[in-house]
């Protein structure tokens, strides 16, 4: 039942003008690279902001030369004010969570490689795909523009709890236009990601080439597919929440602001709103968002590891089921962010249980990785180092989840640095390591040049040791009761923790500087790197079967590939060595489940 109609799906002629080629491009590969570029710009800004914050936390009265250039009144004499610290913190978190951890592993790599890995010429709705990027770009600009409004960006944290975020200017500096721009930016971002999810899901379900069953998709493709399903539901809930927040702020409605709110001795003109409503809506999105950041990383890391271990995972399907279970459970656990928020204490217990249960699929994923390492022929290169580092970080960040899943212990740890350490390791550093692994692994395919291995290894060692040096002490701080989101440590019982903060600051500056090695490597390799062969890692999935490197406009040239095998046929004896590519009709080994 084939027909002319959808022979055209996703097909479009190669563009000729510069603008259509590099700016408003319909090509998923260009859009993927654009997302990567956006994430790179965002991560550098986010990291820079974290440096400023860390300097301030270590040495509160330190004058940072030139700081006043960033803000109108946030840095008299180049010393950071309390509100400017909180503004930097909010922007750091928002930039990192939305514009780095969501865009890089999911939108950037997913856009570039998902269509290739399923054997398609492009995504089915290239215009939506292009819109998805540009809408996200606009969202980023809107967020950045809040640095230029009179009282600066919002200081309410990336969770933007109401009513502080909803009362408007009267709530203090940064609660005026900054909040509106923040909510607007996030609402726009949601639209972009919904468009992206639409393309990802339809690509996976409908664009697979001949012989490519769902089970034959590589694990990275599964990671993106599962993430897109999560994104579809999560962002569709965050967007209405942002709309209601904007209305409370600018139109005087009372969705989130209760009656009898008195600020500066003034009764606020609101009545009867529910502050917990915002928290419910936000965390219904917020918790799946954590998995949106990490599941693509799991897929990428699995893919990178398999290729470098020269053997398949213990079970392809169990890993996929476990990732799916994580996605489903992630919707049932969001209440653990609200244990002490005044929610019914019974609900706390109800939310605690699935939160503890979610450790089971996570453990399965980790154990499958480790069990697969057994008996491997492991190659050590920058990509595999970062993939192995991901596992180490994921474990380190994961075990602290045991604590935070329990409401009784959460009484002590809620809103402390323990939480900050937990999520930085498990969704920040681990996800970043996934991005790095993917970059070192796929850069040759994306740009036709190899990255510098020596610089890659320097980058890895500094990042690995540095990340532990920064984030392990966060847990100690949290245990000692150090509250997060403090610009300085006024309570007496926190005084003895300040030396530890100084240590963390130094570690952060060092680790951040190491990231510049990566950026340097990226740019130098882009233009001067060794030319890459078509299949530098002896991989099996479809991206290594493209006729040229980087792939041509329609990915596979004249003929779409036909798939004969499960994705990871390694450790077999074949004419090419120890692997059989998916496109090779040669008989593969015992791992060919299909």
């Amino acid at each position: 039942m084939h027909d002319t109609a959808h022979a055209h799906v996703g097909q479009h002629a190669a563009p000729t003008s510069f603008i259509r080629k590099h700016v408003f491009s319909l090509d998923h590969k260009v859009i993927g690279k654009q997302y990567y570029g956006l994430a790179l710009a965002a991560v550098l800004i986010g990291m820079f902001l974290s440096w400023l914050m860390r300097l301030h936390l270590g040495w509160t009265n330190l004058a940072i030369p030139g700081l006043h250039l960033l803000t109108k009144n946030g840095a008299p004499g180049d010393v950071m004010t309390p509100e400017f610290y909180l503004q930097l913190m909010t922007m750091h978190a928002t930039i990192m969570v939305f514009f780095v951890l969501t865009t890089a592993p999911f939108a950037a790599f997913g856009n570039y490689f998902l269509p290739i890995q399923v054997g398609a010429e492009d995504m089915p709705f290239p215009h939506f795909n292009m819109m998805s990027f540009w809408v996200t770009f606009v969202a980023f600009l809107v967020l950045m523009s809040s640095f230029f409004v009179s009282d600066g960006p919002t200081l309410g944290g990336w969770t933007q709890y109401a009513p502080l975020s909803a009362v408007g200017q009267v709530g203090g500096p940064g609660e005026g236009a900054g909040v509106v721009l923040w909510a607007l930016s996030i609402a726009i971002f949601c639209v972009g990601q919904l468009l992206g999810s639409l393309n990802f899901i339809t690509t996976t379900l409908d664009m697979r080439t001949r012989g490519m069953s769902l089970w034959r998709l590589p694990l990275s493709a599964w990671g993106w597919f599962i993430t897109s399903v999560m994104g579809l539901t999560a962002f569709a809930v965050l967007m209405p929440a942002c709309i209601l927040l904007i209305l409370d702020h600018v139109a005087g409605t009372s969705f989130f602001v209760p009656a009898n709110t008195v600020i500066n001795d003034q009764m606020q003109p609101h009545s009867g709103g529910s502050t917990l409503l915002w928290q419910h809506l936000f965390w219904f999105f917020g918790h799946p968002e954590v998995y949106i950041a990490i599941v693509p990383g799991m897929g990428i890391v699995s893919h990178v590891l398999i290729t470098n271990m020269r053997k398949p995972m213990l079970s392809h399907r169990v890993l996929i089921y476990a990732m799916g279970a994580l996605a489903v459970l992630s919707y049932m656990v969001y209440g653990h962010h609200m244990f002490v928020s005044g929610m019914n204490p019974v609900s706390s217990l109800v939310f605690s249980f699935p939160t503890l249960v979610i450790t089971i699929p996570s453990t399965i994923v980790v154990l499958i990785w480790m069990g697969s390492l057994y008996g491997a022929r492991l190659r050590i290169n920058s990509a595999s180092l970062f993939a192995l580092g991901f596992i180490s970080m994921f474990i380190a960040g994961g075990v602290s989840g045991f604590f935070l899943a329990q409401p009784s212990i959460d009484i002590m740890l809620h809103a402390t640095y323990f939480v900050v350490g937990h999520f930085h390791l498990v969704m920040g550093v681990a996800a970043m390591f996934g991005i790095f692994a993917g970059t070192y692994f796929w850069f040759p395919k994306m740009y036709g040049r190899m990255m510098n291995e020596t610089l890659g290894k320097i980058h890895f060692w500094c990042s690995f040791v540095g990340a532990y040096a920064i984030f392990m002490p966060f847990h100690y701080l949290g245990l000692a009761g150090n509250v997060r989101r403090y610009q300085a440590f006024a309570p007496e019982y926190m005084q003895h923790l300040i030396p530890l903060h100084k240590f963390i600051t130094i570690a952060a500056l060092f680790t951040g500087a190491a990231q510049l090695v990566f950026v340097y490597n990226l740019f130098v390799s882009r233009y001067k790197g060794e030319p890459a062969p078509d299949n530098p890692w002896q991989g099996t999935s479809l991206e290594w079967s493209t006729p040229t490197t980087p792939p041509p406009h329609n990915n596979f040239g004249d003929k779409l590939p036909v798939v004969y095998h499960d994705p990871f046929q390694y450790g077999v004896e074949s004419s090419t060595g120890d692997y059989v590519m998916q496109t090779s009709p040669e008989k593969a080994g015992p791992h060919d489940e299909a």
Binding site: Q11, L205, R208, L277, K559, E586
Partner: protein
């Protein structure tokens, strides 16, 4: 199964060329055995638009589910919930929206008749399409009249939680309807250029009917809760 309008289907001739470039987008579940023999497996997966539409509808459903839970939580959170009499024109609008769906369905039936090549160019599909379009536009205008009536009663967006939810829910729905109108315009344009795919037409129609269902749901919700 599916093909462009005004063009008799060339299903058989297309199948042979399907191995050539571009013929297989649309995916294939038929597994090819490892010995390299390509069996004549029938592998068909739906065109992306017909999967995509369900994805779109799912995300719209989530959005309105979020609004609904917000409404329920907000109602329970304070005693400032006031009764709000829904403007009568809403019921007229409901009929208009249904009529629009009916018109679209008539158009779709005619287009389908042409598509399978039973009758060449009989009837005027675009006339029904224009009817659907104008009725959809009329619905949005009707909604505007409803807002104007509330405004005349002194019920503004921020007056009380009921009016807030009324404006927000109806406005977000109206925005989605406007989006559907854009989709219909696209269908009209594609018919003119003879590039309409059946999957596009179906997807637009599903979306349009979904707007009816969503509207009825909202009306019942507002009627019950406000």
């Amino acid at each position: 199964m599916a093909t462009t309008v005004h063009e008799p289907p060339k299903i058989e001739s297309q199948r042979d060329s399907s191995q050539s470039h571009g013929g297989f987008n649309g995916g294939g579940q038929g597994l090819v055995p490892g010995d390299g023999r390509l069996p004549a497996v029938k592998h068909y997966s739906p065109p992306p638009a017909s999967t995509g539409i369900w994805v779109v509808l799912a995300s719209i459903t989530m959005t309105f589910a979020a609004f609904t839970s917000a409404l329920i939580v907000r109602q329970g959170s304070a005693l400032d919930w006031r009764h709000l009499r829904l403007p009568n024109i809403l019921y007229v609008n409901t009929l208009v929206l249904f009529a629009s769906s009916f018109a679209l369905e008539m158009a779709r039936r005619r287009i389908r008749v042409i598509a399978v090549g039973l009758k060449a160019d009989s009837g005027k599909p675009s006339r029904w399409l224009y009817a659907a379009l104008s009725l959809g536009l009329l619905f949005v205008i009707g909604q505007y009249i409803a807002w104007a009536q509330l405004r005349a009663q002194g019920l503004y967006l921020a007056t009380n939680p009921n009016s807030s939810f009324f404006y927000v829910l109806t406005a977000v729905h109206a925005l989605h309807v406007l989006g559907g109108l854009g989709g219909l315009l696209r269908v009209v344009r594609k018919i003119r250029n003879s590039t309409l795919r059946k999957s596009t037409l179906d997807a637009t129609a599903y979306y349009w009917h979904f707007m009816d269902g969503l509207w009825v749901y909202l009306l019942v919700l507002l009627w019950m809760k406000l």
